[in-house]
């Protein structure tokens, strides 16, 4: 389980960094190849980076699918929690559980749709326009990411059902001011449900 957690974190952080570098290199290459430096220009012109945009898109799509699963584990997904945060904890608990299970249902459906879709196009010879990568490999992130997300929803629901606690990056836990710990979308505001413990997560 620890291994899966680390793999997930490592994968999305890598995709983020790699896509940034890729576009940076592609832009620098485009302009450097226009400079009339003897020798260098010819060498640069021989390198073809037209596939960079497409690869960047696929990297970010993969990052989005696996990152969304990671986001369930960190509790970052925003919702409309104004009403349920005003309910007594035991009633709120029912709603939060309903929400988590709805998330699991939705991602399971999408994962299954995705798996069928990937299976179908794996039997065609459809490839992406620039990279000529078989499309089913590019779209493999949909079943994989969605099933992982489904698993994360169930995992969070299980912990929540037993303890009444949800994952938070709660700014209130920070002593002193450390900017790196303030996550604008990960706080106990009304965009995220509060814990269903009697204190509602209050310290």
């Amino acid at each position: 389980m620890k291994f899966l957690d680390h793999l997930e974190e490592w994968l999305i952080a890598f995709l983020m960094g790699a896509a940034t570098l890729l576009i940076f290199v592609a832009v620098v290459h485009r302009y450097a190849a226009g400079l009339p430096i003897p020798g260098v220009q010819d060498a640069l012109l021989k390198i073809d980076l037209t596939w960079a945009q497409e690869l960047c898109i696929y990297m970010f799509v993969w990052m989005a699918k696996f990152g969304a699963a990671y986001g369930v584990r960190t509790g970052i997904h925003v919702g409309v929690d104004v009403m349920i945060n005003r309910l007594p904890p035991d009633t709120r608990k029912l709603y939060v559980l309903f929400g988590l299970l709805a998330g699991a249902t939705f991602t399971a459906i999408v994962g299954t749709l995705g798996a069928t879709f990937v299976w179908d196009i794996a039997h065609t010879d459809s490839v992406s326009p620039d990279l000529e990568l078989p499309k089913w490999i590019a779209y493999l992130c949909i079943p994989l990411g969605s099933y992982l997300m489904c698993f994360r929803f169930l995992q969070v629901a299980w912990t929540f059902a037993r303890t009444g606690e949800l994952p938070h990056h709660d700014v209130a836990h920070v002593e002193g001011i450390e900017t790196s710990d303030i996550n604008p979308y990960g706080m106990a505001d009304n965009l995220h449900p509060a814990d269903a413990t009697p204190s509602g997560g209050r310290k």
């Binding site: 999305i12 952080a13 983020m16 940034t20 005003r86 007594p88 209130a172 979308y185």
Partner: protein, 465 residues
């Protein structure tokens, strides 16, 4: 001190829990009993009912579409499912993760600190002192960052403790920074503008250029409010900086300020597309933070990559589902019907814009900006086009609306960030921000009914006609 301001006590009433199931059940029951309930009502009842249960917005969007498709329509599910897979395969959308990454590097990289020093050397000796410098620093940081809460974190966490130390009332500082931080999404680059561009097929570059003049005007308005309050209460000022001191502060912050030119200049001259500019600014911000200012060690980079990926993925996941939802809207002809109905009622531009403002301000009470823009823009945009409203003007107006929503409870993101920094409660902060919030509302009216303010710069530069 906790930021959990609105969590109910154990004895709170339970009846509101009945709202979501009733919201969904009543239209469905009426429909099955044979009453002519139009499909849009079913869709919206389902969406808002699911949202109110507190589940992630992305999930409620997706479930609404799936439920509707499985039960009510003959649109083949494959064609909609395809949207789920291809919905975010646009290069413009990829500007969002890049701008988030760039913003995170800038926040941790010491850029904000030097911008504050520069701003305070320029305007710190006037009434308002550090408060006025805070407004200017927020405007400067907004020109390199695309997010409002990030601007509040970057500027606020440095300037607010300094203001309290100088003897400003905590409320004053919190009010200034919470509202000025909202400039983050109006002064380009802006993540919310990218969302609007994606939802309506407008040009990101034109929106960015159009945001400059309104952004500077709003910064001036907020600065004037700050100045006026500070002068009335005789708040402390900074000693006047000499020109050599100002020059030194400028040179120190020049690395950050240069990024403004890279992004805006690059997009305007066509050197980069907006997405490329975002990627370049991420690399540049990394370089400045680690190698020039050395405020960040290379060991912190993986954590920043992970945090940026986390936030980006959350937003991209909303986009994926919102694209699917807007496809459903279009295939059910809902925006067209709304437009026809409004024209039929003789609703003019003035009344429509008022209606849009009210709807968006109400939505700002329960949702954050990206979700609002992604859900509302595809519905309202076609109507605005029918009425002959400029697409860029409409976009900027939506962004200003979102800014207001970020500064008041129950969900204002900026308020929660400021509360995290100052350890003030949300109720106290709400009182603290009202003079600036009122200023913003006045500005919103100006932006709404005076399109020239928005369109003058892009027209002068020949970007739009």
């Amino acid at each position: 001190m906790s930021t959990l301001a609105h969590v109910a006590p154990v004895g709170a009433p339970r009846w509101p829990a009945l709202i979501p199931p009733l919201m969904i059940a009543i239209p469905l029951a009426l429909k099955s009993a044979g009453f002519p309930v139009a499909n849009p009502w079913i869709i919206f009842a389902l969406l808002f009912g699911l949202m109110l249960t507190g589940m992630p917005i992305s999930i409620s969007l997706g479930l609404t579409v799936l439920t509707y498709l499985f039960t009510m329509t003959t649109v083949p599910i494959e064609s909609v499912a395809l949207k789920l897979f291809t919905g975010i395969e646009k290069f413009e959308i990829m500007a969002i993760p890049f701008f988030i990454l760039a913003g995170n590097f800038l926040t941790h990289g010491g850029v904000a600190r030097r911008m504050i020093a520069f701003a305070s050397s320029m305007v710190g000796h006037w009434a308002g002192g550090l408060g006025l410098a805070g407004v200017m620093a927020c405007a400067l940081f907004a020109a390199v960052s695309g997010s409002s809460p990030a601007t509040v974190v970057a500027i606020g966490s440095i300037i607010l403790p300094a203001m309290v130390k100088q003897g400003f009332p905590p409320r004053f500082g919190a009010g200034v920074i919470t509202t000025s931080g909202a400039l983050g999404i109006l002064i380009p680059p802006s993540i919310v503008m990218v969302m609007y561009a994606v939802a309506t097929n407008t040009s990101v570059g034109a929106l960015f250029i159009a945001g400059i003049v309104p952004g500077l005007v709003l910064a001036t308005f907020l600065g004037a409010t700050t100045w006026w309050i500070a002068r009335k209460n005789n708040f402390p000022r900074q000693p006047k900086a000499t020109w050599p001191q100002r020059w030194r502060a400028f040179r120190e912050s020049a690395w950050g300020l240069l990024l403004v030119i890279v992004v805006i200049g690059g997009i305007y001259t066509g050197v980069f597309t907006p997405t490329e500019a975002a990627a370049m600014s991420a690399v540049y911000a990394f370089f400045v933070a680690v190698f020039v200012y050395k405020d960040m060690t290379i060991a912190k980079v993986p954590k920043i990559l992970l945090d940026s990926a986390n936030m980006s993925a959350m937003l991209l996941y909303i986009i994926t589902n919102a694209v699917m939802f807007s496809y459903l809207m279009t295939s059910e002809q809902i925006p067209q019907e709304l437009a026809a109905w409004m024209l039929d009622k003789g609703l003019g531009v003035v009344a429509f814009l008022l209606f849009v403002n009210i709807v968006l301000l109400l939505a700002g009470n329960v949702m954050e900006p990206s979700s609002i823009v992604l859900i509302m823009a595809p519905i309202l945009f076609p109507v605005a086009m029918k009425l002959g409203i400029d697409p860029i003007h409409f976009g900027i107006m939506m962004v200003v609306n979102m800014e207001v929503g970020m500064c008041h409870p129950p969900v204002g993101l900026n308020l929660y960030v400021a509360s995290g920094i100052t350890k003030m409660g949300i109720t106290e902060l709400t009182v603290a921000v009202w003079p600036w919030l009122l200023t913003m509302l006045v500005f919103l009216v100006i932006v709404t009914y005076w399109p020239t303010l928005t369109l003058v710069l892009p027209q002068a530069l020949g970007i739009i006609k």
